[in-house]
């Protein structure tokens, strides 16, 4: 069995578990009574967060740029979807429009910022995130201001209504799988390999004829579009949106969750999103302390394992292989410590 086989089997198992987890299986002899409404909601929220985090991962882990506006892009997608579907546009079109609009905004934002200096994109996105939040809050005629927009209806798919929470969960699961596949394809394509080359050694990448700025810009814009797609799913999930989830602090948390999960690794955003969505649930007893724990976790990880949780697993995996097999780890499994460094 090669590593690929194992990956396929593991993915199939994971997919089956994710599909079955909200169902009551006690009738089939399996002691699992299925997730309740709230559990399924949290799981759906995890998927939506992971989509946005995949976008951040593309920007941070592959193109080596910081984005501090992913919550704002999520907000643009969410408001766009809420407003257009309320005006009668089909959900499919609203979903596509959310991705296209955020992609274009990403191009407009990234183009001037990437012209200058490496870390200017961080500041420009920081400013943009605050501006977008101000617009959500202040333009009452459009966004409802602090009162937000309520009664956002869930769409139906080929005549099947997604009103029920399990149906909607399966729908989001399907979209996430599709977007994850696109992400996987991007980083495997020659195009994605250019990103990796860029991350590992920018000078050499440029000398091989890779247009650094164009690739970085496209990576940034696609990452923003993932934020928009996530927003388009977020609005019908929560059925009510207000400016709070798109405030400045949320922008920072998106960046941090990708780092916790493992920037530059495929599984990273999913792990990071799980930590970001589930940790507050587990730490209910600790009330407000979870952000403290979260921040400490990031600082410790940065100091000892910059590859994040995914990097830790990878390191564990390659260490075991190195100990048991006679073959040393392939150069592709580079030490995790290099993954985040630009």
């Amino acid at each position: 069995m090669t590593r690929l086989h194992w990956t396929v089997i593991l993915l199939a198992l994971l997919g089956a578990v994710l599909i079955l987890v909200p169902l009551d299986l006690t009738g089939y002899g399996i002691p699992w009574s299925g997730l309740k409404r709230y559990g399924t909601y949290i799981l759906t929220l995890w998927l939506v967060t992971a989509i946005a985090a995949m976008g951040v991962n593309l920007i941070l882990g592959y193109a080596g740029q910081e984005t501090l506006a992913q919550a704002a892009f999520l907000g643009i997608g969410a408001y766009l979807t809420a407003l257009t579907t309320k005006a009668g546009l089909p959900f499919g079109l609203a979903f596509l429009a959310s991705g296209v609009v955020t992609f274009l905004v990403g191009i407009l934002l990234g183009f001037p910022a990437l012209r200058v200096q490496k870390h200017y994109l961080a500041f420009v996105t920081l400013a943009f995130g605050v501006l977008v939040w101000l617009i959500f809050r202040n333009e009452q005629w459009l966004t409802g201001g602090v009162m937000g927009i309520s009664d956002i209806r869930r769409p139906s798919l080929f005549g099947v209504p997604l009103r029920h929470f399990i149906n909607f969960y399966w729908f989001v699961l399907g979209v996430t799988a599709a977007l994850a596949f696109v992400f996987w394809w991007i980083i495997r394509s020659p195009w994605g390999r250019a990103f990796t080359a860029l991350r590992e050694n920018p000078v050499r990448a440029e000398s091989l004829g890779i247009d650094i700025r164009l690739y970085t810009l496209l990576a940034f814009a696609i990452g923003c579009a993932y934020g928009g797609f996530a927003g388009a799913l977020y609005a019908p999930l929560v059925e009510f949106i207000d400016p709070n989830p798109f405030a400045l602090a949320q922008n920072f948390l998106f960046l941090l969750m990708v780092v916790i999960g493992g920037a530059g690794s495929f599984a990273g955003p999913f792990i990071g999103a799980a930590v970001a969505v589930l940790l507050p649930e587990w730490l209910r007893f600790a009330e407000g302390y979870y952000l403290l724990i979260y921040a400490t976790l990031v600082m410790v990880l940065m100091a000892f394992a910059p590859g994040g949780i995914a990097g830790l697993f990878e390191r564990l995996f390659s260490a075991r292989r190195g100990a048991s097999a006679e073959k040393p780890p392939a150069p592709g499994l580079a030490p995790a410590s290099q993954e985040v460094a630009p």
């Binding site: 500041f123 605050v130 809050r137 650094i212 602090a249 920072f252 302390y289 600082m299």
Partner: protein, 292 residues
Amino acid sequence: MTDFIQLVIAGLATGAIYALAAIGFTLLWQTSQTINFAQGDFVMLPAFFALAGMTWFGLPFSVSLLLAIGLSVLLLGLVFKLVIVDPLISRGVLPLVISSIALSIFLREGTKDVYSAEAQPFPALFPDVIVSIGGVSVSLAQLGVLAVAFCTIIALQWFLTGTRTGRQMQATAQNRQVAQILGVPVERMILYTFLINAALAAMASLLISPIYLAKFSNGEHLGLAAFVAAIVGGFNQVRGAILGGLVVGVVDNLAAAYVSTSYRQAVPLALLVLIILFRPQGLLGRKEERAV
């Protein structure tokens, strides 16, 4: 017209405080390529040190102020460098950026949990007396803030250009390798930069808290103001940071009066975007060669 002048003077007073935070920010960038996303929280925290000194230990106000400056030099200067910066500095800018963002959340939430989530009144350093000069009424508090901020800046400038240590620090900032070859103790100079940054942040904190009240979430606004000031003025120049701070303070204040209070925050950010579009090196900055 007198309204306008009053607004400008008030803006200069807050702008001078922003300048203090922005100077520290650019100093860190110059000497050690550290982008400190916790800078706003560095300005938030020292006021709480002073408050803790007064309410928990019953110290007099003046002693608490000294305690605040001392503690922030120790914690936000020395400990920050040893614990957060030193282990990460060799891995490039990105890990440090992430870590400083986490530190910012840590300081903010820690202050909220340990001290209070409510905005705390902070005793004023200067009496809030209004004096009228040629029809323009100015508050003594504002003039006092301006005076203290400018004395700090002048003292810093004298230190950087007039003393041997200061010139060694400048040499380190301009070209670390050459400075090292010429016998400058580079590591110690970088440490001094961190201590100075912490001291400047503490000064800014003690000056701004009587105006804005001390609140755990102040760092968000102050940090943004410091970034915008540093970039508008020129990321690689101390005098750029001073100009940037003053510009941001005045623009901020005028925007609140003439644009709209709900979009007050947006105006400095729009200024930032314009600067990046049309004068990316900042008002006073030198063009920097891209590393790649």
